[in-house]
């Protein structure tokens, strides 16, 4: 009787594991296909039936990309813009979230609500006028201009995440720091920030991800080829010379995704902790 029950349970768990594995396989298949296509010579790619396993593996698609200084430039631009955005977001969001977590002041809730509602405003409408402002201020085709715009749209989530990390630290920490004679800035930088390091990492990576992903603002603000970021460069190469070279396009896509995917795998723990910390407050 007991062995029968045990067996039934294990069959059910086998089915469960199989379901999970099949689901993972389906969801990851597009990524597998992107990688396989990127190492397949074009003449094998454009044939039926599709080669589900890689054949005649080649890196020629990759060498075509990195031989072009213009394409390397897209990568550099993306790194500069995303890195700059992360810095700016941290500089702005750490004080603001510290304030929302620790202090009370007039209009605090109104200020928090207005920051959170940023993601509601149609980016396109903002871009129409921002574009003309940027023309006047000379910010079109500058790193500064795109970094500023990217940062503002990453701010709401950054502030919300950082605030939830500050909220987890007991207020007694601030008090004992003050008794030891630390000023408010010292309390923040010496006592609280080291303890919120996981939060800072989560915010940094999230911001890097969203800035690396940005297409619309980069498309509008960066109009010269030398200033374009990776997503825009990638999309426009598709309209142009890669129109039928899917091997090259997929190699370009893999190269453009790799920094982000590696970063995610490396910092996965912080990312998931950070993403879910804000949403699940009990």
């Amino acid at each position: 009787m007991q062995t029968y029950k045990k067996k039934r349970v294990s069959i059910r768990s086998i089915i469960k594991y199989l379901t999970v594995i099949i689901l993972v396989a389906i969801l990851l298949f597009p990524i597998y296909w992107m990688v396989v296509s990127s190492v397949t010579p074009s003449n094998f790619l454009m044939s039926l039936p599709p080669h589900l396993l890689p054949i005649k593996t080649t890196l020629i698609n990759y060498s075509k990309i990195f031989a072009r200084p213009q394409y390397v430039r897209f990568f550099i631009n993306s790194f500069v813009v995303s890195g700059g955005t992360v810095l700016l977001v941290l500089v702005i969001s750490i004080p603001a979230s510290y304030s929302f977590s620790r202090f009370n002041f007039a209009f605090k809730n109104a200020i928090m609500t207005s920051i959170m509602s940023v993601q509601m405003f149609p980016i396109v409408v903002i871009l129409i006028s921002l574009y003309t402002f940027y023309l006047q201020w000379g910010l079109i085709n500058t790193y500064r201009g795109l970094i500023l715009a990217d940062a503002v749209f990453a701010l709401p989530l950054a502030i919300m995440l950082m605030k939830s990390f500050f909220d987890t630290l007991p207020k007694s920490l601030d008090e004992s720091a003050r008794i030891d004679g630390a000023g408010r800035f010292q309390t923040l930088f010496r006592v609280l920030l080291p303890l919120t390091l996981p939060g800072i990492i989560a915010v940094g990576i999230y911001t890097f991800l969203s800035s690396w992903d940005d297409f619309l603002m980069a498309l509008t603000i960066m109009t010269t080829d030398t200033m374009k970021t990776l997503p825009v460069g990638l999309a426009q190469s598709f309209m142009g010379e890669y129109a039928h070279d899917y091997g090259g396009l997929m190699a370009f896509s893999v190269a453009g995704s790799l920094p982000i995917v590696l970063m995610f795998i490396f910092f996965q723990r912080y990312m998931i902790e950070g993403l879910t910390a804000g949403a699940v407050k009990g």
């Binding site: 768990s13 999970v20 689901l23 993972v24 969801l27 990851l28 597009p30 990524i31 296909w33 992107m34 790619l45 454009m46 039926l48 599709p50 500089v91 702005i92 969001s93 603001a96 304030s99 929302f100 202090f103 007039a106 200020i111 928090m112 609500t113 920051i115 959170m116 940023v118 509601m120 405003f121 149609p122 396109v124 409408v125 903002i126 871009l127 129409i128 006028s129 921002l130 003309t132 402002f133 023309l135 500023l148 715009a149 503002v152 408010r184 992903d213 297409f215 619309l216 997503p231 825009v232 999309a235 453009g256 995704s257 982000i260 995917v261 795998i265 996965q268 993403l275 949403a279 699940v280």
Partner: protein, 312 residues
Amino acid sequence: MKKNANNLSNDRTGKIRFRMNNSFFGFFLTVPALIVLVIVVALPILKGIYVSFCNYTISNLKDPVWNNFKNYIKLFEKKDIFGYFLTTIIFVLLTVVIQTVLGLAIALLLNTKLRGRNVFRGLFLIPWTIPSVVVALLWRWMLHQQFGVINYVLHKAGITDTVNVSWTLTGILAMASIIIASVWKQLPYMMVMLLAGMQSVDASLIEAAKIDGAAKFKLLWHIILPSIRAVMVSSIWVAIMNNFQMYTIIYNMTGGGPVDATTTLSIAAYKSAFQSYDFGRGAAIGVLWLTLLMIITIVMNHSNRRAVNDYQ
């Protein structure tokens, strides 16, 4: 005079002085955030609302001219705007509903006793990290009319009778293709949020229900769903907002076509402004879109005050 009086009372009880300074300090810390917000969001939005009432094109970039609601009148006369609204609502509704249902199902599966749950969760999240442009180009390649792997699989499985289905030829297929690509990218995030919500549900509650002999479905309906309601509402709200903004995947997969079949509000506004250089029309589409979002937010806030407040 008044300032002096304040100082006096502060000196008497150090505590009051401490608190007053704190509230100013607290506000001071938010100033950088407020400044960038005003520059990049508030000013452009206000100017955007103003120019939506103006004749404002590439030829008069410096001075928009008031034109008596002509942008709006034309949008409603030509009835374009109704199509954009309908397309947007279909896209947002289907994308959000599908990812919520699938996300919930996968989260329930991962919330059971499962070895290596964190590894699976990490694997499930990878599509979420792929840049949107890559998502669009990758799905374009997989749905390629002649050599697309999906057409091949569908044909082999006997679902389609030709191996050359053109996913950009008819409106329905084009809409399906942008929804599939968007769901693929967004599903992992939704799933992880719902899973996190489930993991914070009191385990003793579930045990008690199991001992009482509650059926699986009842357990889901009466215990799990109510407990994750706050997370669910806030994740759905974020998904709705994001998909209203969706531009990258649609533009790079269908370009809004065939004809206007996948032209959502965001595609229509951008095309008017930056391809036809009719900034006034683009802004007017945006303002109507903003009005719709505000109505949705008020309704959601009203019916779900607690959950939305929790998110904020």
